[in-house]
Symmetry: C3
Subunit: 659 residues, 3 copies
């Protein structure tokens, strides 16, 4: 069965008599799949053990009659009022010690055993009920795990779980004391039971504790998901299990979270959440998120929530311009989505999210958004069957690590330094050059890439050093940056030599001093031209490396900003600062030229080229992110299969190219 497009639907928000109308409109629009029930616990179990699946059965049945399959969410992000009334200890506690109450969602502590027992009972019942329903093709566990849990939970259950997690990790309290360096500020613990979660203190917590807290927190949520996966897998043999991720959301290691899922899904909102700066995310940010989500399992994926109107809670985001909704949906397909489910069919008339708009308006009458997406589906859906499962085959990889991200969240160094943004600065230069990029984690094989960029490798292991060395010696080109090799995995500084530690030989450099660019930036000369850099400067002494860019100011003027060292068949670059966009563009140009990495083609500024590559064909998407008409000059062998050569504002074209 072909499952290309769908919508998120809440039949329980609408009168029973409307359901048939909706199903008919969905069918006419070309939808194949509907996600339901991920927030409907109180509707499915109005009181303890009193299951009420009839309404959902009926909705599934009506949708099926109109040709649509169903994906069900487990509603565990919204424990009902009757559960909270019976067991208020389920409510989460924030780092200031305040219980967060009922009235929104995510009012739960994910380690709480009473809450787990309720989940076990309910999810078992739900899985039993739907395991043989031929119209239910799969499950989504919970919803956007981690959402709203940034500062949660510090309850006594979570504290005990954290202490137990630490006991498992460190074996003995002496080992923990030694590795955390609790000798500092007299923080030595006699037993694991003394260790706090990082609630408010008179000042700051130990950075090793903070990193372990973030690891624990991620592990807890992964385990919370696994707890539900286990229930469903055991009962529902033929239905897939997925979860909807949130791009670069930083609370959970998505590589871990994705591991036991059949595939991952992603929620893509181009205008961002309503409180983000508007008009929203840049096209390259959107591309980066999609490439990252594809990288979680190095597989194609679903979009489980694709923006279909203005977003909004108390504040509204910008209204997507004509063409943008279709463009953004096509972009997700171009980057690896095999199925796109729109959030949502129709905006709710009540509740917190009533201005999070859907395909229809509140009125229920199809309008501009319905027509625009219907038209896009009719053109794109047939093509999607041709390249289902196909990846882009990138020659460049960017390393992404949650632990590095967490370490910089704990210690940003410069007030504006952010790991995820730094990674995206490199991505942007590749994106602008129309070069496909994979995001990979540190466990991936590097050897299939001509170029690997690994920014801010702050926490370092001997194993990772060896992996980098092997990659370069075998002919790879590797880019490392400032703040590499500073610490071990305990978030403790290495003290056995100059920076960048064990990678100094590979890079051919030593770093004995550095300058955090507070209240200043820096000049850099590269290939005879002047650029700026910011946030940080390593003051680099080359041992065997060659300098390819130099600082031009202050007491370290003339010293290297970028170096390259040769090792075996490859090269190892070191970038000691954060280049501005212009320097980054020229540096990436140099790297890709030397590495023999080719662009997908030429396109006007603001037009993105993306590839899905099957064994026989390339499908090249051209996506016009501008509000002007753009002219394409496709290569001679590009056969256009969608759109016009002249791209409308926010227009889409697809070309099929024989390999």
């Amino acid at each position: 069965m072909k499952i290309r497009f769908g919508a998120d639907y809440y039949p329980e928000h609408w009168p029973r008599e409307r359901w048939e109308t909706d199903a008919k409109l969905m069918e006419e629009m070309g939808l194949d799949v509907i996600r339901m029930a991920e927030f409907s616990w109180s509707k499915m179990e109005p009181s303890l053990g009193n299951y009420n699946f009839g309404w959902l059965d009926e909705a599934i049945e009506i949708l099926a009659r109109h040709g649509m399959k169903t994906v069900l969410g487990t509603p565990t992000a919204t424990p009902p009022a009757w559960i909270i009334e019976q067991s208020p200890e389920i409510l989460p506690v924030d780092s200031k010690g305040r219980t967060r109450g009922f009235g929104g969602r995510h009012h739960d502590c994910q380690s709480n055993p009473v809450y787990r027992a309720h989940i076990h009972r309910f999810v078992t019942a739900m899985a039993q009920h739907y395991k043989d329903n031929p119209n239910v093709i799969g499950w989504q566990i919970d919803n956007e795990l981690g959402n709203s849990h940034n500062d949660l939970c510090h309850c006594s259950s979570c504290r005990s779980h954290f202490q137990e997690w630490l006991a498992n990790k460190y074996g003995s309290i002496d080992n923990l004391n030694a590795r955390w360096g609790t000798a500092f500020w007299s923080q030595t613990y006699d037993k694991f039971e003394q260790i706090p979660t990082p609630m408010i203190t008179p000042n700051s917590h130990n950075p090793s504790l903070l990193l372990d807290w973030k690891r624990f927190h991620s592990d807890l949520i992964v385990e919370f998901q696994q707890f539900q996966i286990d229930i469903i897998r055991d009962i529902c043999k033929d239905q897939f299990i997925t979860h909807n991720l949130m791009g670069f959301f930083g609370l959970i290691d998505y590589f871990d979270l994705g591991k036991n899922l059949d595939f991952v899904s992603h929620d893509q909102y181009a205008t961002g959440y309503f409180d983000n700066p508007q008009p929203g995310k840049s096209p390259q940010r959107l591309g980066a998120e999609l490439d990252f989500v594809r990288g979680v399992k190095q597989q194609t994926f679903w979009i489980m929530e694709q923006q279909s109107g203005p977003t909004g809670w108390e504040i509204l985001g910008r209204t997507p311009r004509p063409g943008q909704l279709a463009l953004w949906a096509a972009q997700t397909v171009a980057h690896g989505a095999d199925t796109v489910v729109f959030f949502r069919w129709r905006p709710c008339s009540f509740g917190t999210e009533e201005y999070w708009h859907g395909i229809l308006h509140h009125s229920g009458v199809p309008g501009r958004r319905y027509d625009e997406l219907k038209n896009m589906i009719s053109q794109l859906a047939p093509l999607m069957d041709e390249f289902k499962g196909a990846l882009p085959e990138s020659e460049v990889a960017i390393l992404y690590s949650y632990e590095q991200n967490w370490a910089f969240e704990i210690q940003p160094h410069h007030p504006k330094l952010n790991y995820t943004h730094q990674v995206q600065k490199y991505y942007k230069a590749l994106y602008d050059a129309q070069i496909p990029v994979d995001f990979i984690n540190h466990k991936e094989d590097l050897s299939k890439y001509k170029l690997v960029i690994a920014p801010l490798q702050f926490l370092m292991t001997r194993k990772m050093e060896d992996k980098f060395k092997d990659y370069v010696k075998q002919g790879g080109r590797l880019v490392l940056t400032m703040r590499t090799g500073v610490k071990n995995m305990d978030n403790v500084c290495m003290t056995d030599g100059h920076l960048p530690g064990g990678l100094g030989d590979l890079l051919g450099i030593e770093i004995k001093d550095y300058d955090c660019l507070r209240a200043m930036d820096m000049g850099v000369e590269f290939e005879g031209k002047a650029y700026r850099s910011e946030k940080w400067c390593d003051i680099v002494s080359p041992t065997t490396a060659r300098t390819i860019a130099s600082y031009t100011e202050d007491f370290y003027a003339g010293t290297p900003a970028i170096t390259v060292g040769k090792a075996g068949k490859g090269e190892a670059y070191y970038v000691g600062t954060e280049p501005d966009d212009n320097l980054m563009r020229e540096f990436i140009k140099l790297l890709t030229r030397i590495s023999g990495i080719s662009s997908l083609g030429k396109a006007p500024e603001g037009v993105e080229l993306v590839r899905r590559r099957t064994s026989t064909f390339d499908y090249i998407f051209a996506l016009n992110h501008t509000e002007e008409i753009q002219e394409l000059e496709p290569a001679a062998d590009w056969q256009q299969v969608l759109g016009e050569k002249e791209l409308a504002p926010y227009g889409i074209a697809v070309f099929k190219v024989k390999r």
Copy 2:
């Protein structure tokens, strides 16, 4: 007896031997009335049941000997330390769950039964004591009700009262669930006891709950006042009861609060509170507040606290320039104050408000402020007797609704959209055109106005739709705006048609799309000229309406920004955006010209004209809000009864005109 001017006085802050001096200075200044005792509970009842009114009796007596009457405040904003020590559960709890302690004022929960019992005992005793005192002419209940209570109170008493209020309103929990839409996020309640007050959750509360919380909160305070009114009315047959409002303060529905008062009073501080931006409120903002306060009961009113020096707690506001204090006092009279009581006689030498200056300085020596106000009183007081009770007779009304305000506080849509500010944008254009304006609430008769402006009629009922239709059909001119007819009174979106719902026919338009102007503004063409608008654009399809202004940019360029539809003998205008000041001025010019509404006259920029109209005469005030001399050109029949034709900086003139 003539009661035109007065002062707020705290004899308990000063030595007994000073009282006579103060009374003499007051008499010489021309004061008629003194307010006392509204914060003096511990002085009047130093311990339970131990009443001590002697000092106050004496102060009243001394003032009476100097020709002054007394208004007494009930001191319920300041329960004494001995009450809090005995019953700390009276202390209020904020939305973060934190008890707010003793040490300031308003440290009370207004639903708390123990606190109520103390009030009942004390207010009864006080009323009994003063009911027959011929020098006590009236009562002020509490002080600035709602002040400091924005985030209060979430204690268990308030939670119970809220649940009870909901039970009374909705009858059954099923009804509440249906009307609030608790199906969203699984928030269905089994019983009223499960419903929280809107304390911190992991994210946001249901907007229907939030609106009911605001209604409950307002009702609670209104009922708190009524509780005291009932005690006093029962005992004190010949004394009036009032309360001092705070202009556009938003916590309490002042139309409700004013209902059972003999008249309302208002506290007018032109420089604003010390933490407001300085130099303070604009003249039109001051005018709007006064017109609004007059509209609470469509009656003249008292100023119970009129600024008489720099304001200040920890920070000081700007020092009023010579002339400004008299000007501001005259402005309150011009807009409908029959009595003006200055806050305060002399600044306290201790306590939080010691820099909230009074007529005298700390030294107690009369100075610039005393002289200036004494001079103004001597001129204005005699005139005030002529037009006591007279209103301006406006031809334009602006609708003001607390429920609309609350709904926009809950969901501002645009980060800078504010209901009360939006209303004042329309007011400003009328003010600048020297046109008197009434503020009315939705229960008022519209038919007496030529023009009714009703911005942001977000929450809509069938009854209100009919009222608007009737008004227009009978010949009225009505202005409605963006976000009209979006929701029902449960704060739930209407889903049975396009916006603006049932008013679409009257207006002759349909709205199928809109654009929240995030990170942009919009061009508008009106009468061939270009203007800007901001915050929001409805994308309007006229059905029968005529377009009178159009957007000039983006994908909806050329569509209507302002329309007018004819219905019966009248016209209904729709404004789909927030016009800038220039467009507003021109639009109001058009509206008043068409409606045949006349200006009070011409005056230089910065000079305000205001009218008090008796059955035989108009009294036209000319108020110079600038620091320059201004020339007036009064009409031939204007007889000047106060001031010079050449207005001094911050000067005042009054003209008497036979009707």
Copy 3:
């Protein structure tokens, strides 16, 4: 023994086998003294009564073998986890009622009796152990007392102590009520037990309570230090006791804190804490802090923590430029430090402060910072022996009062008015003129100064008035400013006359009005030229004074901004506003010329001249705070004993001049 330079060292953070290497490097660098153990409680007492001083004995012994003495800190800023586990009531409570937990430092309530008992036991044991160790020369009590305690502690123990402190001060509750003015807002107390600490209320606390809270808080910490001093003095007869202050840190009255110390120490960080604006403190701010610290006991002092690299916790401060570390160390010596201890030997590899850099880098290899400081020590240390104990002999004093500072913290008047900044504005003009300045408190003898500047003498006593009058009558020149004589010591406004109260006669002025310069500044004419002033204008009526500067704008244009009155042999100046830097420079020029105060000499802009004066010689330091080379033109009799005539960027010179 000569103790000139040292370092702060944490042997417990490093392997035993490294200690010898460190000691050798220290010796080679020229260090004489090492501070240790001030955060090492859990290492010295891993469980109750189980003392473990062996490691520290060994470290002291190794250092001694390399010629270094030891100063020991009492580790009471870091009660170990086992104490907190047993007695969690030791944890402090903030003003929002939140307990601040274990995990940082300063997690303690300084009034708590259980904590005091632990301290008594441990400090006694430590003192007993080290009393006869010839290599231990002294003690530091705790560390940076008050640090992190700004909002602490509001626990029940602190509340009781506060109430007891009040009972001692006021004798009776009636007296407190009268003096605090609790008649305001009905805050009268029946007993001391009702009085709160200033935790959150619905609005603001009584300013008299707030001032007493700050006094209590300071007294508590002074008494907390005394508690430890008493233990050690009793046991350790031959060792000194000091404490490390933090410049203008405002929580504790350092005049009180310093009283029973042998000498005070100071922690000097020129780039400021990492979250301060960078590049850091200005040279004159650094000079002011040093002069202030010298003024605490009118004695030379130690620097116990002298910056030796970039500062940093989560964020890093700027990297000191080559030369700056040596310059800043020399500046501390120039202003009166007899010993300079660098913080710290080597940055920790773990814990919150791992980016608070030291003399060495993490690698432990000596580098730029080691070399630079070693070189400076080799030149400066010999000279230091010549002028040990010598002071600068200033002719100008600036009065500094904690109580004035606290009163302005409670009521800043203008949002940007700050007592300590105001004081430094006067200091800066003197600093720029190369004139040595003493900071003194109100108990000091004024008569030895030609000029005394006493800004913002807000709280006033009859005794202080007399002191000022006597000083002037005997020939002194006194500068008083706006907001002088406003209140009594209870933080209650004086009401018995015009401002500036009892000093009006001396100054020859009366003030009946004033203007807080909100949203404006003011023009001032002085000696025929135009300047600006800000924040506040007193509107001054001279009685006998002569006007020397006048306002040029607004309704008080032409009235005095600065006056001078003659009394006896001296003059009393009054400055009614905050002059800008230009006016301040010219005003100080006038004052010093008239007073016959001489500059140390001429130097290029950015070069600071400072004097240490012995009975026979002046030692003039020339400190180049710029990054350019600067030429000096020393007087003929200046014999250069350090540096070159041409000062390198951040360079130092010292001249010896026979008196």
